[in-house]
């Protein structure tokens, strides 16, 4: 019985094989259905079919003749270089969508960069105004010694800037460079900023805007507390896909709300760990993209950048319904401001919201922060809008 079983198994198997052939099969199509005509684009390009169609530009503008547009960078949603005049060096001009701050704060930040004393409210009110993205905006025109982010001092520099305040964010355009070059381009700069529009195809309605309202801001006051300027038919509307003012969260019980900055939605201190902070920032626009910002944080702790292909190997969280990368790095930390932290631990999440980026960052001494990982993750996952 047992000796014959294997042979019978083979016989049985051979008998079953022809009946179960599921190999590839061409020939006549057997299934036909009648359906309603589909809603498809019969003229779609390959780029549109496969999702490589470039999105509409964020901004609409008239580009001055000798300006050259270059790739956006972190905090530079529009980026240009302007060739130098004579022996003078090139100038740069860039536009940024910023979260928070107000006109006076940002203008005085520029004055600080030019080694000048800050303006008072009265001095700010005395500045000339131009129309920028449908807003009356002050025109800043200052000369001095420019202190770059790297600490290098550049003498005889000139800065032109405008700042437009919206309810949920600010928009600035700034030109900085050698005095001769910027002087030659002053009129072109003014024409450029007056031609700027935020592309309605990329931005939804303004936060708080009532349906049918002719007021582009829906009656909301801007960050300076002023009534909005109206009378522009082409008033540009803009919003982040998440309104920072509507973000909610569940903070860990032992965290306390700290003193933040105009750029942050919220800042938390960890009382048991002086020097540790967690904060949330939302920047409208591309803000350089997820990878660039993760690499910026890596550079802050002295690490080499990673590539797009490395992102899959990093932990992922679900934040505001989006798949977001969790960065955990350590090293000597030096941020954009504040003291250096030797042996720091940095947690960071960059959440791509479509038309803005949300950053959640926590940094502090490694000895204290190693216990905060689960709290940081829970906080990120609790964010809601």
């Amino acid at each position: 019985m047992i000796r014959s079983t294997p042979r019978l198994f083979l016989l049985l198997s051979a008998g079953l094989l022809p009946a179960c052939d599921d190999g590839p099969r061409g020939g006549p199509i057997e299934v036909v259905r009648t359906v309603a005509a589909p809603d498809v684009d019969l003229d779609a390009s390959g780029a549109k079919r496969f999702g490589y169609e470039a999105p509409p530009p964020l901004f609409l503008f008239d580009l001055p003749e000798n300006w050259r547009e270059i790739e956006p960078a972190p905090l530079r949603d529009l980026n240009f270089t302007i060739p130098g005049v004579g022996a003078a060096g090139d100038a740069e001009c860039y536009a940024s969508l910023l979260q928070g701050g107000g006109t006076l704060d940002n203008v005085n930040r520029w004055r600080g960069q030019m080694s000048l004393d800050p303006y008072s409210d009265d001095e700010l009110a005395a500045l000339p105004v131009v129309d920028v993205v449908g807003r009356r905006s002050v025109l800043v025109d200052i000369e001095g010694t420019f202190q770059s982010m790297s600490g290098e001092a550049q003498d005889e520099y000139r800065l032109l800037g405008v700042y437009a305040a919206f309810p949920a964010f600010g928009f600035s355009v700034k030109m900085i460079g050698p005095r001769e070059t910027v002087t030659a381009e002053r009129d072109a700069f003014v024409r450029f900023v007056e031609s700027l529009l935020l592309n309605p195809e990329r931005f939804g309605g303004m936060p708080g805007m009532a349906a049918g309202s002719t007021d582009p801001t829906g009656g909301a006051r801007d960050q300076d507390g002023h009534d909005p300027h109206d009378g522009h038919d082409h008033a540009a509307h803009a919003s982040a896909s998440v309104d920072p003012s509507e973000l909610t969260w569940i903070k860990p019980a032992h965290w306390t709300v700290g003193e933040g900055s105009s750029m942050r939605v919220v800042t938390f201190d960890v009382p048991d760990s002086p020097g540790s902070q967690c904060w949330v920032t939302v920047l409208p626009g591309t803000a350089g993209g997820v990878l660039m910002n993760l690499n910026r944080w890596r550079r802050e702790v002295g690490l080499d950048p990673i590539t797009e292909g490395d992102l899959d190997s990093l932990p992922h969280l679900r934040v505001l319904g989006r798949d977001s990368v969790l960065l955990e790095v350590e090293g000597g930390y030096q941020g954009m401001s504040g003291p250096r932290i030797d042996e720091a631990l940095l947690f960071g999440v960059v959440c791509d919201l479509g038309d803005s980026l949300m950053f959640v960052k926590m940094v502090g001494p490694k000895s204290d922060l190693s216990d905060e990982r689960s709290h940081f993750i829970a906080f990120c996952e609790s964010l809601s809008s």
Partner: protein, 403 residues
């Protein structure tokens, strides 16, 4: 004294030997041991292969080829083993079993087990499953497979008494006809209504479509500036995105239209043949429903102070032959109708297209043998009661007679 000549042994015929073997208890033991082994192997394989591929390889196959180092080892697959078990059970457990009062319970148990195996067979060959996604207020008459693909050629309906503006005909090639197509092989599909044949080649079960950088470095064919980048299969089968090259070859001899199709393409490939535009789409298989499902309301309840759901449920209206019936579907209370089962599976976050609405996701299963495992268990329980109840009764009677 003469001794009687030994009675000559008549050799058993082949059918008799086959019958003896197929109905033997020894075969039962061999089959069960092998099933235990492939269950263990298949469970471990899920880690790397994922649930879907492991199930296909170990439990839905006739044969499995494993490797002991460089040596291939051939094993029977789950389908073959369960088929053999059914035959063994039928012949040994029912036909050959002496049916007496003592064995009636065992006979009933065997019927129950056989019914369980038949239920599995029916589900394997005649069931379909997928997902139905509905926004509040939206209605649909089909659900979409998780894993299976179909190639669909769309054509406008022209002429004939039943021609209507806005109607299309879909010529559907189920994925089982091309899912195993080799990368270098080609298949051709035709229909009398269509003035061309559709040739499918370079089929890949998981791929990305990339724009050609123009540096000539890609080894794949570039069509209209795009090429297919083959990727390893994802362990989560529903994440695999199939792609293929398509040639639309007119029977009139006019120019062949070449293109790519991809499982997540936003728009179909369009081929103009003899003045008419046809669409070619590679998409997840759609199963038509015999009725319409409309989502009236969706409710999510969160744990206090969090955004994590503790419960979510949907209120739907089923429209069939003009009659509307409202019902509630929640996580442990599916809707069963006409062999379809709608489970409240998940929900998802709003996106821009829905203007902030959430949508409800139902897991849909159509299984003619949906309730048969339940009947099988009832029959097995009845058989156990009969068999052991009889033994208990006889024991009790023996004890009381001896007392």
């Amino acid at each position: 004294m003469n001794q009687a000549a030994p009675t000559p042994t008549i050799p058993k015929s082949l059918p008799r030997r086959a019958y003896d073997t197929l109905s033997s208890f020894g075969l039962t033991v061999v089959i069960l041991v092998l099933m235990l082994f492939i269950t263990w192997k298949g469970t471990l394989a899920q880690v790397d292969l994922g649930l879907y591929e492991a199930q296909k390889k170990y439990f839905e196959s006739l044969f499995i080829i494993e490797r002991a180092g460089p040596i291939p080892v051939f094993l029977p697959g789950g389908y073959l083993l369960m088929g053999a078990l059914f035959v063994n059970l039928a012949l040994g457990g029912m036909v050959r079993l002496r049916r007496t009062k003592a064995t009636i319970g065992i006979f009933v148990i065997h019927i129950g087990i056989a019914l369980m195996l038949i239920a599995g067979f029916v589900k394997f060959h005649h069931s379909s499953e997928g997902a139905l996604r509905l926004y509040v207020g939206q209605q649909k008459t089909e659900f979409v497979s998780y894993h299976d693909w179909e190639l669909v050629i769309g054509a406008p309906v022209t002429g004939g008494q039943d021609a209507q503006d806005g109607e299309w005909r879909e010529y559907v090639v189920p994925g089982e006809r091309f899912i195993a197509l080799g990368i270098d092989d080609r298949l051709s599909f035709t229909h009398d209504d269509l003035p061309f044949r559709t040739e499918l080649h370079g089929f890949t079960r998981n791929a990305m479509v990339r724009p050609d950088s123009g540096d000539g470095r890609t080894s794949q064919a570039v069509v209209d500036g795009f090429w297919i980048e083959r990727r390893p299969l994802d362990s989560k089968a529903e994440r695999n995105l199939a792609a293929a090259y398509v040639d639309v070859v007119p029977t009139s001899g006019s120019t062949t239209v070449r293109g790519l199709v991809w499982g997540v393409q936003k728009e179909p490939l369009v081929a103009e043949v003899d003045g008419t535009r046809y669409t070619i789409d590679l998409r997840k298989r759609r199963f038509p429903l015999d009725f319409t499902m409309r989502l009236d309301e969706f409710q999510k309840t969160d744990y206090p102070g969090t955004t994590k759901p503790v419960d979510y449920r949907s209120w739907v209206t089923k429209v069939e032959d003009g009659v509307e019936q409202q019902t509630e579907i929640s996580m442990n209370e599916p809707l069963r109708h006409q062999g379809y089962i709608f489970f409240q599976s998940a929900f998802d976050q709003p996106d821009r297209a829905s203007n902030g609405e959430m949508y409800s996701i139902f897991a849909v299963v159509r299984n003619p043998s949906d309730q048969w495992p339940l009947y099988s268990c009832i029959i097995i329980a009845a058989g156990l009661l009969l068999h052991f109840g009889r033994k208990l009764f006889r024991y009790a009677r023996t004890q009381s007679a001896g007392a």
